[in-house]
């Protein structure tokens, strides 16, 4: 039996792309460039976004992310370690009370997930959290 690298034995069956866990390629600058562009370099406030993610992804192909920011018009999600960092853009209408949403996303490797919110007063908020994507397989 020959298993190729991508079908590797211990990788959680969900892991999207098997990249080096020890040497994370830097897509991080791609995400920050994108954020700079979107916000035209405006000041990014902190503390008004609730971003909830699991400590360790059960399945890198479906990582639950829960984000909300009261008073936000729009929230964007980014995965710093994904080849294409942008994950989704949420625009909230008048009937959204909490300006929040839960989604499942693909994370290629251990990385920071970033939420960027455009608030009602046109100011910006940012929040980040780390999600670990592991090979797993040895729990006792």
């Amino acid at each position: 039996m020959a298993l190729n690298r991508r079908e590797m034995i211990w990788i959680s069956s969900g892991t999207v792309v098997w990249t080096a866990l020890g040497s994370i390629p830097s897509f991080a600058s791609k995400a920050s460039d994108l954020i700079n562009e979107l916000t035209s370099g405006a000041k990014l406030g902190e503390g008004l976004i609730d971003l909830i993610a699991p400590e360790i992804a059960e399945n890198g192909n479906a990582v639950p992310l829960d984000v909300s920011a009261e008073g936000a018009e729009q929230i964007m999600l980014f995965g710093e370690g994904n080849p294409e960092p942008i994950i989704a853009t949420y625009n909230f209408g008048p009937l959204s009370p909490s300006r929040g949403v839960s989604t499942r996303v693909r994370l290629a490797q251990t990385q920071d997930v970033i939420a960027l919110a455009k608030m009602g007063d046109s100011s910006w908020q940012i929040a980040r959290t780390t999600v670990k994507v592991t090979i797993g397989g040895c729990g006792g």
Binding site: M8, I9, S12, A20, P54, I56, I135, G139, G140
Partner: protein, 565 residues
């Protein structure tokens, strides 16, 4: 002829005591005089509520030997804290006399010699006797099973857990939580749980599709005992789909979910619970952290990491009671609950010395009944061992060395990988190795042994990844197993580093050469969590290997160098 019971009395009488015991009465008494069932279960009944905790039985219906670890390193805030002290340090911390029964039960040193004297531990017939004795004292005691019950033996694998279900049902637990049970596959787990005559709890067992609490596993159950309302909240192993094959139970999601735990604690308190007990399969360090983050829990009955401590851990106002594994211990926890508050507690970790405790005849007969259809095939002697075969330890165990040797030899590989699980009884020098013994350290529903080429780089990444699941200083990133075992491969590990920088000096032992990241190596391993892994079952590989050896010679393993411990 001197009976085992007489022998124990003789040997105990000769044992000196060193230091004062902090380990409750049984230890000191045993060391001074002799062991008796009365002493083992002796307890000054306290308060108004009693809990009985047993956990991580891993399918062990009958008494076994089980050596506790000599290497169990704590990291971050838990460095040097219990349970991360072992051997003589552990005995010193608890005032345990060298050579005493608690030395044998709780620590690793002189294991083979002490095992000759004190005999096997566990056996659910003996556990039944202890439970009966506690219930005679406190008829309304609540019996709680922390999970990892329907896994780990020949009969358990062959009956898909039914042997354990049949015997545990007779012990009449009040509630249970889960881990390895799910590796029976969700269809089978659902089938058993639907018919369980007690509560199957897990506040963190969710329906994966809609992210909602699962119908089959309620978060908690309320009990009323002697006019006191007690809530028992279940906490299944949080990392089931990562540490075990998630594809076998893909409709379920787990996780720590401490926000939901906090909500459940509030919910039960509002519903009138005067005492909140968490039946947990988190592992001890995760339980400590959870207790520090979630207020309002009185008692955490702690499983998963197989720790056995003579005194509970205390975090703020929460006590954490870890009750060992493999049927070796039962904890009794008496609580004084007044006006919705825990005013005091008294606990005892009762070691199940099988030669001291009278077997419960009915349960013994029921166990024999479960085993009978498989008795002949299980008892076949495959070989002998000249040394101690054990598993527990952060980096290697002699059982795993043997399994890795079997993989290298039977699968014609340069490197072997074996999972760092913590279950599996020990064998003492001179013992026969039966087929049942081999299943005791290998049985699982995904035992296929793969053979595959891996680059040096990938091997390094695997070791780094697994090391971070054990030695990440944040307990919430710890999955509770031990380091993946390696055969044919040596390495150094620096515990002060973080992921990516812990592992170095990877060496192919066969040639003494450094592992080349760009070179391919033939690797054999087992217990892959990938769906569709192919290969012969690991127990067949180990059996073939032992047959060829005849007698297993246990050698010291010096292939792993640990820094920063």
């Amino acid at each position: 002829m001197i009976s085992r019971r007489d022998f124990l009395q003789v040997s105990m009488a000769a044992t000196a005591i060193v230091g004062a015991s902090g380990f409750g009465n049984w230890c000191r008494l045993a060391a001074q005089q002799s062991l008796s069932q009365d002493q083992l279960v002796q307890f000054d009944t306290f308060g108004n509520v009693s809990l009985i905790h047993i956990t991580d039985i891993h399918g062990q219906l009958n008494p076994i030997y089980f050596r506790e670890p000599s290497v169990n390193i704590g990291v971050g805030d838990n460095r040097g804290a219990v349970p991360h002290i072992t051997g003589a340090d552990f005995r010193k911390a608890y005032g345990i006399a060298d050579g005493s029964s608690s030395h044998y039960a709780l620590t690793s040193g002189d294991f083979s010699a002490l095992a000759q004297g004190y005999g096997r531990v566990g056996g659910l017939d003996n556990v039944a006797t202890v439970i009966k004795a506690i219930r005679a004292d406190r008829p309304e005691a609540i019996l709680l099973d922390g999970g990892d019950t329907w896994h780990g033996s020949y009969t358990c694998l062959k009956t898909a857990g039914q042997d354990m279900v049949n015997v545990m049902n007779v012990l009449k637990p009040d509630a249970m939580t889960f881990h390895w049970e799910f590796t029976l596959g969700s269809d089978r787990v659902n089938e058993i749980v639907r018919n369980l005559p007690f509560a199957a709890l897990g506040q963190n067992i969710f329906d994966a599709e809609w992210d909602e609490p699962s119908d089959l596993f309620p978060p908690y159950k309320m009990f009323e005992r002697g006019g006191t309302k007690i809530a028992v909240i279940g906490q299944a192993f949080p990392y089931l789909p990562i540490a075990n094959p998630g594809w076998m139970f893909s409709e379920y999601s787990f996780g720590i979910r401490d926000e939901n735990m906090a909500a459940m604690v509030q919910e039960v308190r509002l519903a009138g619970a005067e005492c909140v007990v968490v039946l947990s399969h988190n592992g001890f360090d995760v339980d400590k952290k959870m207790a520090s983050l979630v207020p309002g829990i009185d008692v955490i009955l702690s499983g998963h990491t197989h720790d056995a401590l003579p005194e509970p851990g205390l975090i703020n106002e929460t006590i954490i009671v870890p009750s060992g594994s493999n049927g070796k211990f039962v904890s009794r926890v008496d609580l004084d609950i007044r006006n919705g508050r825990m005013m005091g507690y008294r606990t005892k970790l009762i070691p199940i010395f099988s030669d001291v405790i009278d077997s419960d005849k009915d349960v013994a007969a029921l166990i024999s009944e479960q085993r009978a259809p498989y008795a002949t095939e299980m008892s076949e002697v495959i070989g002998q061992t000249d040394g101690l075969l054990y598993r527990r330890g952060n980096f290697n165990g002699t059982w795993d060395d043997l399994i890795c040797d079997a993989l290298l030899s039977e699968r014609d590989a340069e490197i072997a990988l074996s999972p760092g699980v913590r279950w599996g009884p020990s064998l003492i020098p001179g013992q026969d190795i039966t087929r049942e013994d081999i299943f005791g350290v290998t049985s699982m529903t995904y035992g296929q042994a793969y053979r595959s080429e891996m680059s040096g780089k990938l091997l390094h990444e695997i070791l780094e990844d697994v090391a971070d699941n054990i030695f990440n200083p944040n307990p919430y990133y710890q999955q509770g197993g031990d380091m993946v075992r390696t055969g044919g491969l040596g390495y150094s590990i620096d515990l002060t580093q973080s992921q990516g920088a812990r592992i170095s000096d990877l060496t192919l032992l066969k040639t003494g050469e450094r592992i080349d990241p760009d070179k391919s190596y033939m690797v054999a391993g087992w217990a892959s969590i990938m769906e569709g892994t192919e290969g012969p079952q690991i127990w067949d590989i180990v059996e073939n290997h032992i047959r060829k050896l005849g007698t297993v010679r246990v050698l010291e393993n010096n292939s792993i160098k640990v820094f920063g411990a």
